[in-house]
Amino acid sequence: MVTTVRSARQIAALNDEAARLGLRATMALADARAMYPQLVAIDADEAADRTMLEQIADWCDRYTPLVGLDPPDGLFLDISGCAHLFGGEEDLRRDLIRRLAVQGFHARATIGDTPGWAWAMARYGISTSINETATNSVHSRASGNPDSCRRISQHDSGFPLSRGRTEERHAALLPLPLAALRIDPQIAAPLAQAGLKTIGDVIDLPRAPLAARFGSAFVRRIDQALGREEEPIVPRLPVPSFLAERRFADPIGREDDVLGTIVHLAQELARAMERHGKGARRLQAALFRTDGKVVRVEIGTSEPLRDPTRIRRLFLDRLTVLGDEADPGFGFDMIRLSALAVEAFDAVQTGWGTGDPARETAHLIDRLMARFGADRVQRLVPQDTHWPELASIAVPANSIAQGKDRHHDSAKDRALEDSLFQDSRIPVRPIRLFERPEPVEAIAQVPDGPPVQFKWRRVTHDVAYAEGPESIALQWWRNDQGMPVTRDYFRIETRQGVRVWLYREGIYQDKDNPPHWFLHGIFA
């Protein structure tokens, strides 16, 4: 694999065979070609590497929800408090390496008490009594490219160690090259010229001159490796407030089994959330397929939710729509249900006979959203403008509180009607509005008057009665897309009794821009 560094073609990664021939990464391609003219070189695809790394990170989610990316080829896993689920740190590490090897990845993993230390040992460490590392390279199958070879380093950190082991770990760090401190080669090079090549060489030097000469970042890296300074792992995905998971010895694939598991997990989750007085607004089910793919199914709710049967219903709707996207393949070996967003939710007395209609509506909204997408279930909200298209906008139904002011409906309606001055008995606004006003051909008797005849969708309509004009102008501060400034609206009744909303754009005096007529809405 070849990449271009400063306009020179360089080897970015190579397979075992090439390594055995004496080639190595960062070697110029021209040099390698000189040694072996028949060398097969392909361009490195950084985007694909990144995607692959994210997929592996997804998969690593099975060990801990706190997975941080370390591009181009590393991952940080915070396993504080997780290790015992896998029989201890060492077993977790072996399990991770073994499972990755089965998938065709060669990985080195180190468990350390700081991310810096783990990074250094995973990349530059030699086999020690503390950490046993596998060094065999395997072809990466998952990349779909038999000639590429990938080394994935896993750095695990975050387990508190005893003082004795801490010192031992410091000692292990000393013989490593400075690059193990995650510093820029531009900093490492002058240090190397000064004869400072290993971490041991710099660790006891006076800090102030070091910081002054090489920057505070360099000193911070030393501190981070030694654990003198905290370094949080930035999780790739938001860490859920509540989660429940289940692993299977035999993978499951039937939808019923998956949903059954989700119900069990939802019950666990409900108990945990109830203790804290919370309900979920956003839930995610992560289905871990045996071949490493992770299917994430997310649902949103319009009010805090704990009820496992309702959660099941929502996932059922969502899975129905996903279809092939949630294909179980050879089965799922782990399912995790996590509450990504929670809100305060006090327990309420529930019963089938006396269900609250508003709550049922909320649940219906959730289900429709799960099935058709959040942007398709809407409420119409009036806006503070007269411009027809903007005066009423559609927003996702769960984004506004439901049932507010319900008892003041009639009073508010009256107020609304009063606010729109009305000179006739029909409502001044149509019940249906075209998103794009439809052009019509209209004939008006006088230049600024209402039309006497118009042709809409190839049918000619005679105007029996017209009311207007009602001039509506777009606010000047919104008028940045070259929209016309004013429209003259007419309420029209045709001979057949059909009532429509027509408007004229432009004026007749303007010879260059003759007015155009549009049909914008339909009255009842």
């Binding site: 269900g355 609250d356 209609p357 508003a358 709550r359 049922e360 509506t361 649940h363 219906l364 289900r367 429709l368 099935r371 058709f372 398709r376 279930v377 809407q378 409420r379 119409l380 009036p382 027809p388 005066a391 009423s392 559609a394 139904a397 507010k404 002011d405 319900r406 008892h407 409906d409 508010k412 309606d413 009607e417 000179d423 006739s424 008995r425 029909i426 409502p427 606004r429 149509p430 019940i431 249906r432 509005l433 075209f434 998103e435 049918v459 029996a464 009665y465 009311e467 309420r491 009744e493 001979r495 057949q496 009794g497 059909v498 009532r499 429509v500 809405g521 339909i522 009255f523 009842a524």
Partner: protein, 260 residues
Amino acid sequence: MERSLTGAQAPEALARLRQSIEKIQHYQHDNAPMPLGLSEADRLLGGGLTLGALHEISPSAPVHLGAACGFALALAALSGKAGRSGRETLFIQTDMARFEGGAPYGLGFDLFGLPARRLLVLRARRALDALFAMEEALKCRGIASVIAELPDDSADLTATRRLSLAAREHDGIGLLLRHRSASMPSAAMTRWEVSAKAGARDPHGGLGTTSFLLSLVKNRRGPCGRFRVAWSHHELAFVPEDPVAVAAPFADRPADAAIA
């Protein structure tokens, strides 16, 4: 038209027979029907529009879609009135229907009598999605009425039967708003064809209240009929207009003023 209005003996007898068969089939509805406030229509419907049932509405010609939609909204507004407040209306529209007939306009709904804040809008991609959503919504206690707008003949006998069964679970009404009047059989309780009617002028010479010409073309519980009604969006009530053409003396007076 006149014949069905006067109500000949045969259809009445047929309706009685139908009602007794419905009883045998446990079609009996516990819900009191929703009176439309039109004595003639309510008599033919057996007290009013059956709640917990499916009703079909279509324009008599494509150009009357606005009127058909208005009638559906008026029924939805009635269904959300008195005793059923706090319940919502779901308006389902397929993308095709939206493209052909325009989107529901919140301000217009407010002024017409159906408050937009009690309205949910679902934009369905296909008619199948719309039917699914309608069925689910009819089973929901918090929904007073569901309007599903379909531009094509996708709701067949099976689909309408499913919807009728779903509607029976509660007292919500399902309104199937078709863009064309369907000729295929349907399990709906009633079928209406609506056209706009040039309404009376208001006292100031402006456009008067919305008027419809309603044709009840199918009625499972009685004979059919034709009615001329006006909708008072202020009072949320239908106002009957005289079926006999007496428009001339009334032309300069609004219909609801005549009633008062």
